[in-house]
């Protein structure tokens, strides 16, 4: 039974269910309170659409008005004159870098945790605690994760990951540090996506694999993981959208430099060790609440950011629609 067929059947059942009481309902079966309730439901539902439409249209209008090639392709500069402050090329690169870094750390860890939770989960109390622990990470404010990350990365032990001052004080702010904390934000999404995919694989598929003489570890490796690929992809893409949209971690952990400023001498690693900015911190700094106060640039950057996040969500939709596996 495919999902769409069940859905259609449910819709038919709903229509039938709604048609029946209509025949027997008399005028006074709908009291004034009931009518108000239904009216409220309609009002709230329509308000949601209106708010979403207003935000989309306003952001598109403002974004398209202020965006141009120059602003995307030039680096930000510190200047008192608004026309010389440049664009936001570095923040775009920063966002992409941080998103990829965070997802690269979160995906393997998240998949491993999800496999343990669904396939092993022994001892059961420990598994339940880990489940609750993931909920705690979901609920933990990103600003708290951020300053905890700062506390960790300022320890001497982690000095290779960021800039160390003359006196031996570790700066603790870098792409590495921010990426590591961002991976925590993405982790619950990866775990959730993978668990959902693993749970949807019927038991007999596992049993068939055992019957062929494979042990549990190789069943996971050869059978379960390949079939939950789309769930893993969904989870990490959702996690990437979260990372791209997070501001608090960037404000605390990426340093306040406008440009990407590499530290050290090893190419590639120097960028990760250095500080920078992302679209979110750029929007924050250029809003009236920040130091830049250039609403036009903030709108343009926010438009790029919103497009990126929506694109990631569209990818998720596509994966879930295409990757749905039907088990016989």
């Amino acid at each position: 039974m495919s999902a769409t067929a069940t859905k259609r059947r449910k819709a038919a059942a709903r229509r039938a269910g709604s048609a029946r009481p209509k025949k027997i309902r008399s005028k006074d079966s709908w009291s004034i309170g009931d009518r108000i309730g239904v009216a409220m439901a309609w009002f709230c539902g329509l308000m949601l659409c209106v708010v979403a439409a207003a935000i989309t249209l306003y952001m598109a209008w403002k974004g398209l008005a202020f965006i141009n090639w120059e602003i995307i392709s030039t680096s930000p500069e510190a200047s008192l004159e608004q026309s010389k402050t440049g664009g936001f090329l570095d923040p775009i690169i920063g966002t992409l870098l941080l998103t990829i870094l965070g997802a690269a750390i979160a995906t393997p860890v998240g998949v491993a945790v999800a496999i343990w939770l669904t396939e092993y989960g022994r001892p059961a109390p420990l598994a339940r605690f880990v489940e609750a622990g993931i909920e705690v990470i979901v609920g933990a404010p990103s600003i708290v994760l951020a300053i905890f990350g700062l506390l960790v990365f300022q320890q001497g032990l982690f000095s290779p990951f960021s800039f160390t001052a003359e006196g031996g004080e570790v700066f603790g702010r870098s792409f590495f540090a921010a990426g590591a904390v961002m991976s925590l934000i993405a982790l619950p999404f990866v775990v959730g996506g993978t668990r959902e995919a693993l749970n949807s694989i019927p038991r007999h598929v596992r049993e068939a694999s055992y019957a062929l003489g494979k042990d549990q570890a190789s069943t996971i490796r050869r059978v379960l993981l390949p079939s939950s690929r789309s769930g893993i992809a969904t989870g990490s893409t959702l996690g990437m959208a979260q990372i791209a949209g997070d501001t608090a971690v960037v404000v605390v952990l990426l340093g306040a430099s406008l440009q990407i400023s590499p530290e050290g001498t090893i190419p590639g690693v120097d960028v990760l060790k250095g500080t920078g900015s992302t679209l979110t911190s750029f929007v924050f700094q250029n809003s009236p609440a920040g130091e830049g106060n250039a609403p036009d640039k903030a709108y343009a950057a926010a438009f790029v950011l919103l497009s990126l996040v929506i694109l990631l969500n569209l990818i998720v939709n596509r994966i879930t629609r295409k990757g749905k596996q039907v088990w016989g």
Partner: protein, 340 residues
Amino acid sequence: MDEQYLGIFDESDDKSKNEHPTNRRVELMLGALASLILVFIAGMVIFVFLKGLPSLAGNGISWFGGGGNVDEQLTNIFNSPAEPEDYVYELSAFPLLWSTFLIAFIAVCIATVVSIFSSIFIVEFAPRPLERILEPVVKFLAAIPSVIYGLLGILILVPWINNTLITEEMRVSVRYVIQLDGTSVLAGVIILTIMILPIMIAIITDSLRAVPRVWSEGALALGVNRWRALRTVSLRAIRPAIVAAAVLATARALGEAIMLAMVTGSIGFAPNPFDGFLFFLEPSRPLAATIVDGAEGLSVEPFGQTMYAFAFILIISTAFLSFAGWAARKSLSRYSIGAK
């Protein structure tokens, strides 16, 4: 391939699933990795607590009390002398705590009502095409980064409140206490409500859909109308889900930092609800936003410790709420509604 075929005839095979040394090793490794999450959370709570302890210990119970201007106190802490024995810790954080509670509480109250009605609409009353639009709409609202909400708030909502809702009389009446400029509790509450709605709607619609159809059909067969059946049967069945949604949304609301730092005015002031509607228009600043504002000063030792004390309060309360929400959702799965 051969090995696998031979495996079928291996007599010990049905046991090998559990006893194979590689398999055992894989299980242990994955389990250890998963347990690291617990170690991490414990470590986070302990380290943040230890770092914030001097601030809490330096004030004792008056840390949670009111009295004095919290912004002046924070400035004094920031400017305290460099010698560790001269550090200033004096702080009465009540305005910040009150503001955190007030904004989160009002937003969650409004969002609970709105999300229940919206979920009912989506599940039961929306025409097919509208239902199909609403699903991506909710996802879209959930996906918008908080900094964009903050930007829209500070550039549209705040000026609107300043020009339309705040009258000259109001400005004059509180001019010796606080300056009204549109950045306010109201702006924070409105946007926060929109931000937490999608999570609540997602949880409530999921469980409404999972209520067995026959239950409400039974009610319909007894002659009540659709609204009554929904209210008396489905809505009652999913009460734990509503609690879970509200609790998880509270955790989210307490932790929201960037948006509130942008629109609530960043002034450590405790608006008094007994002032009538005016208190909605007064600026305020919750804990999380205070940490964002103080991010630059984290390296100043006593100031940083104060910020970690704030973080400790936040992590403890959100951890407790997340745990409660998780437990409430678990209790639903006993009736196989919304087991997730």
